[in-house]
């Protein structure tokens, strides 16, 4: 019964948004994908995390680096998530760590998406020799093992959060470029693009105004997946002791917690949970985005 109603609503939406010329319209069924409890939970968590990261200075009761003589204290009212071996407050560390994780995730995904759009867009739209050249160039970057490169660069050039962001964006863009190119290849032959060309619209303007908007949805979905993946790489590097020592990050806290895992579970459980829930939340939102733009992928 409910299924029938939904399919009727979809067909109504499809009718309402059908336009014979012009890029695909945003459908109102788009938001229906976000009404599922798991997706709402993920979205709420990510938004809450962004607020925590922005207000870390106000929210954290102490300086995450401030040491005290209350060492390895169990979680209590004074220390919500306990303290570590140097008496640093784990809760303040987790709150400040959100900044690093989200910064690395969002900035590297954004940079990779911009590079990917530029290269994938040019390759897909203009085709020919430019396409061949750019795609071979893309493949060179695609096969570089990401963690391997990040590890070597950070060890040899020194640990800096922006260096990690740079390495990650340089290794993530090929995926975006390929997705966008494939998308543009199917769009550039559509009638409305031909029509735009027929009335003499400059090529670059057709690409930016008529082709790109319709090709972007899968790219944005790809970018949201990259956020979770980038957060994991940064946590992995910090876990190996290669993170930026000037900022508190979840991976670095796990690295410190390793030696005390049998004495102080709270040192590893809370930063670990933070990483897991963040990546899970980001990926839930990413999945909803992918499904919203391509209902064929819906698992229901």
């Amino acid at each position: 019964m409910e299924k029938r109603e939904r399919s009727e609503r979809w067909s109504m939406d499809a009718l309402a948004s059908t336009s014979l010329i012009g890029p695909p319209q945003w459908q109102s069924s788009f938001w229906s994908r976000f009404r599922r409890p798991t997706v709402l939970l993920g979205l709420t968590f990510v938004l809450a995390l962004v607020l925590v990261a922005l207000g870390a200075g106000l929210l954290a009761p102490r300086d995450p680096f401030a040491i005290s003589n209350v060492v390895l204290s169990t979680p209590s009212a004074a220390h919500l998530f306990g303290t570590d071996n140097l008496g640093r407050d784990v809760f303040s560390g987790v709150v400040h760590g959100a900044r690093v994780s989200l910064l690395v995730g969002f900035v590297s995904a954004l940079a990779a998406t911009l590079i990917g759009i530029a290269i994938g867009g040019l390759a897909g739209y203009f085709g020919g020799l430019l396409d061949d050249g750019l795609m071979r160039f893309t493949e060179v970057f695609l096969v570089v093992p990401r963690f391997f490169l990040a590890l070597v660069v950070v060890v040899l050039l020194g640990s800096n959060i922006w260096l990690i962001v740079l390495v990650l964006s340089l290794t993530y863009w090929p995926l975006t470029a390929r997705v966008l190119r494939a998308q543009i290849l199917t769009i550039r032959t559509r009638d409305y693009v031909q029509a735009a060309r027929a009335v003499g619209t400059p090529e670059l303007r057709i690409l930016l105004r008529h082709v790109l908007p319709g090709a972007l949805p899968p790219v944005i979905a790809q970018a949201s997946l990259q956020i979770g993946s980038a957060i994991l790489v940064e946590a992995g590097l910090s876990f190996l002791g290669l993170g930026d020592p000037n900022v508190m990050s979840w991976g670095a806290m796990l690295n410190d917690a390793q030696q005390f895992i049998f004495n102080a579970w709270w040192m590893s459980v809370f930063p670990g949970l933070a990483i897991m829930l963040t990546v899970l939340g980001v990926n839930l939102v990413a999945d909803a985005l992918i499904e919203a733009w391509d209902p064929r992928l819906a698992s229901e």
């Binding site: 096969v143 093992p145 963690f147 060890v155 040899l156 390793q258």
Partner: protein, 88 residues
Amino acid sequence: MSAQHGRKACRNGWWCFGNEIGLLLTGAALTETVFAWPGLGRLLLSAALNRDYPLLMAIFILVAVTVIVANLFTDVVYTWLDPRVRYN
């Protein structure tokens, strides 16, 4: 589900194989550190930390060769998965 179905289903996922091999080779550094396994990832980490450039270079070459061979293998197997694909 016949062998034919399996072949058709594998096509879409198979292209990742060559790329993932490179990641697997060195991405295991985390697992190796946690469980103290003497693997390639941990070797790379200690080589980089100690600035052991000859060892670093050897690992680079090993990973590069493996990635290239794995990609070649991917392409060859792809012609079997999807007979429409031909390389000239």
